[in-house]
Every structure is written in structure tokens, then in C-alpha cells.
Amino acid sequence: MSLAGSTAAGVSRRDPLDAESREWLRCLAGTGRDARSAAERERALARLHRLLLRAAHAELRRRSHPVRIEGRERDDLAHQAADDALLAIIGKLDRFRGDSRFTTWAYKFVIFEVSAKLGRHYWRNPPVQVDGDAWERIPDRFGADPAQHAESRELAGALRRAVTEALSERQRRVFVAIIVDGIPLDALAAELGSTRNAIYKTMFDARRKIRAHLVAHGYLHDEEPRKS
């Protein structure tokens, strides 16, 4: 990936800063020492927290998660996400450069908090594992026709050999956890004390190596997907 290096993303500054963002910054910075300035900042913080809380609730409802989170548990998660996002925003306010609208920048924090909290939450109530060899369910994950038993067996066998023969121990562990056992990437990152980026990079390299192995053994073509 340009994991192989940083991107020339071509980020350009929005200018001038839109009026609403400027107003958020003015109120939240609250540099004035007078009571009016302090009260204005408190009102802005409360308003921002309400927006973040509403966004956290909406995001928790929107996400399809292996374990459904509802009621008080979802309320608690939403409040934690909004509280932590607000703290992060205040701590990084001086890093806001106006490249996006302030509210878009602020909502990003609460979306990230929801992701991180769902990743950790997964281990409090992990889904019940279905009995049997998880590798046998691999063809289903890739939409193989259940009626095509021979194809399904061949696909699962070839993939399993590639994972065993082509991957490092770390890559194998991550690949099996995510693809075979179905553990969400953020949950695995939390479990391993790692980061989403590091796990993704491991998976990225694993995918490349597995594909090369399957091409070398005639299961896939070098460029074009195999015709069924």
C-alpha cells in the first residue's frame, strides 16, 4: 500500500473558514477571563456535547454489530463516547486547521470513539462459537454455492494450505482470527493491544501473499479472477 509510503493526498485548506466553524472556535477557545466569556464557553461545550451524544446514539443504532447493544447499555456507551470525544476535541482544538467544517472534524472524534468502544465491547459478550471446524464454513463466507461441494472443498483446502505455507505466524494468527473465526478487526486490535492500522497492514500483506501462493499453484490467474 502506499502503506508503501504516504499519499500525495493533495489536501488543500478550505478558505476562508466558514462562519459557523469560526463561531465554534471563538466560543470554545473562551480566552476571555470575564464571566460572560466563560458562560459562553460553557454553553458551547454543552451544545457540542449534545451534538456528539446524538451522533453517538445514531451511530450505535446504525452499526450492525455481532452483538446487538440496546437499552441502558447502549445509552452508557453513547455517553462514554460523547464524553471521551469532547475531551479529545478540547485537547486538540489548537490542531483544527479549518481544512473541513468544525462540526465534521468534531463528529469524526465521536465516530472513532464508537468504533473503539464497540471493539472492546465485543469481548464482554462475544458471540457463541458454532461447533465444528470453522474452516468448513469458509466457502460460505465467500458465497460459494453450497451445492458445489467439490468446489467448496477445493477452495477451503487451497486457502488453508496457502495460509499454512505462505504466511508468517503473526499473519496466520491475524488472518485466521478475522477471516476464519470472524472476529471484527477492531476487536482483534483491542485484544492484541495493537492498532487498527497495524492489523490492517498485517492483513494487507497476508492477502497479497495468499493470492501469490494461489496463483503459483494454479488456483487463480495472475491478473484476472478465475472463471467458474
Binding site: 502503506l3 451522533a55 446504525r62 469524526k108 458465497g143 468446489e151 477452495l155 492500522n197
Partner: protein, 71 residues
């Protein structure tokens, strides 16, 4: 799509993919660009981020969530 085709699609990697950290760093800029200029123009402008959002489930979820929050 057969199981092999789906597996092949999953295994394909895009060398332009910028990874999670970079994509998430500018996610707010990307989302505002989508709102102002549309998805196609934004993907052309930030191809490495677009490639990553297509390939990374969790970052794709964050993108969808942020877009929903500001839309």
C-alpha cells in the same frame, strides 16, 4: 459471482491504498469533499483514501458513519 471470484476479489490489494492512519487523518476533509463535490470527484482527488475505504471494513464503517452524521 463464484466463491473463487469472491475470494480473488478479497485477496486483491491496491498499491494506492494509504492505510488506516492516513485515511482516518483526513476523513473529515474527505467527507466534506464528498458533500461539496460528490463521490466520483472526491475519489479522483483522493484515490489512495478511496482505495482504502473500499478495502477496509472498519474504516469504511467510520466513513459511512461520519457521512451520515453530517448529512
Amino acid at each position: 459471482m463464484s466463491g473463487w471470484q469472491a475470494l480473488d476479489q478479497f485477496l486483491q490489494t491496491d498499491p494506492q491504498d494509504v492505510g488506516c492512519d492516513r485515511a482516518m487523518e483526513i476523513l473529515d476533509i474527505y467527507v466534506d469533499a464528498v458533500i461539496r463535490q460528490g463521490t466520483d470527484a472526491t475519489e479522483r482527488r483522493y484515490p489512495g483514501v478511496a482505495a482504502h475505504l473500499r478495502a477496509c471494513g472498519p474504516c469504511g464503517e467510520d466513513y459511512a458513519g461520519l457521512l451520515a452524521a453530517v448529512s
